[in-house]
């Protein structure tokens, strides 16, 4: 009884809202991957610049 009512009170997304949420999720995922790659390759590039500048 309680479970049935609880289920009814969860939010029902419209088709438009589901489509928008999926599109936003894809972009957020892409941004997170891009962020990781930027931090990794940026750190490598910065380390290379420092080593080059120190003449090591």
């Amino acid at each position: 009884m309680y479970e049935a009512e609880f289920t009814k009170e969860t939010v029902e997304l419209t088709a438009e809202q589901k489509k928008a949420r999926r599109a936003r999720n894809v972009v957020v995922a892409f941004c997170l991957i891009a962020f990781i790659l930027i931090m990794f390759f940026g750190t490598m590039a910065k380390m290379a610049s420092v080593i080059e500048a120190s003449g090591a």
Binding site: V11, E12, A20, R24, A48
Partner: protein
Amino acid sequence: MTVETVNNEHQTSGITSAMPADFYRLLKPRVMYLVIFTAIIGMLMAPGSINPFLGFVAILCISIGAGASGALNMWYDADIDAVMDRTAKRPIPDGKVEASQAFSFGIVLSLFSVAVLGLLVNWLSAFLLAFTIFFYAVIYTMWLKRSTPQNIVIGGAAGAFPPMIGWAAVTGTVTIESIVLFAIIFLWTPPHFWALALWRLQDYDNAGVPMMPNVKGEKSTRNQIFAYSIPLAISSILPTMMGFASLYYGIFAAILGICFVFLGYKVWKDGNSENKYAHEKKLFGFSIFYLFAIFAALGVDAIIAKVL
């Protein structure tokens, strides 16, 4: 409260149908393109070099930071955007994005852009970017815009920082050369926006934004447009006079400067509402070309100087 009521409330208040493109529009893409362009020129003109990948990161952070300040501006100005024709279709007044979402979006992007720029490039450029975001979102948007007709004069500094940030990203310093690049955009902003404000006077009046024509009148605004066009033309030839741009650039900038002053003079002498603000519209259009041409010429000049 029925189940249907609960569902309806959730669907209308808590869940957004905003697409990624709506969030992208919060970043004011056209302003962002100008920021990217001027920042790249600042980096090209700076003495020394930067790792290409770190240069790309610097441009990315500067553009995202500028976009973040645009989102914060749209969050705060949603009320006046809704009553102005030019801005009524922005994502918040259009109902695509909620104001609180724009605020969170702007804050998150601000923090990320400044932190990444500081960690990967240098902390001076990160500080300048943070100051630019603060200046645009707080000093201009929250304070000056609604309180003084000098709003875009002082607020224009925010748009003038990008070449200085680009310069600082490469050199780690702020020098007189980068201040000259700042000055060109700073002096360009008032005649550019006041030319627009003259024929959009009613729009700004409806929104209660104290632009110069609404507060001091059209005559005073035309006087000031002409007055600003002269130091703008002089500032544009300073790179040659100070020795960090070629004579060819100086001649090009002088010709463009004379054209700008002439159009400013026409606005001052003949501008009026009877000819549907023809001179003002011409100056506004030319001012966009002017800034693009000046910075493009500086960029080409810098590339040639580095190659030869």
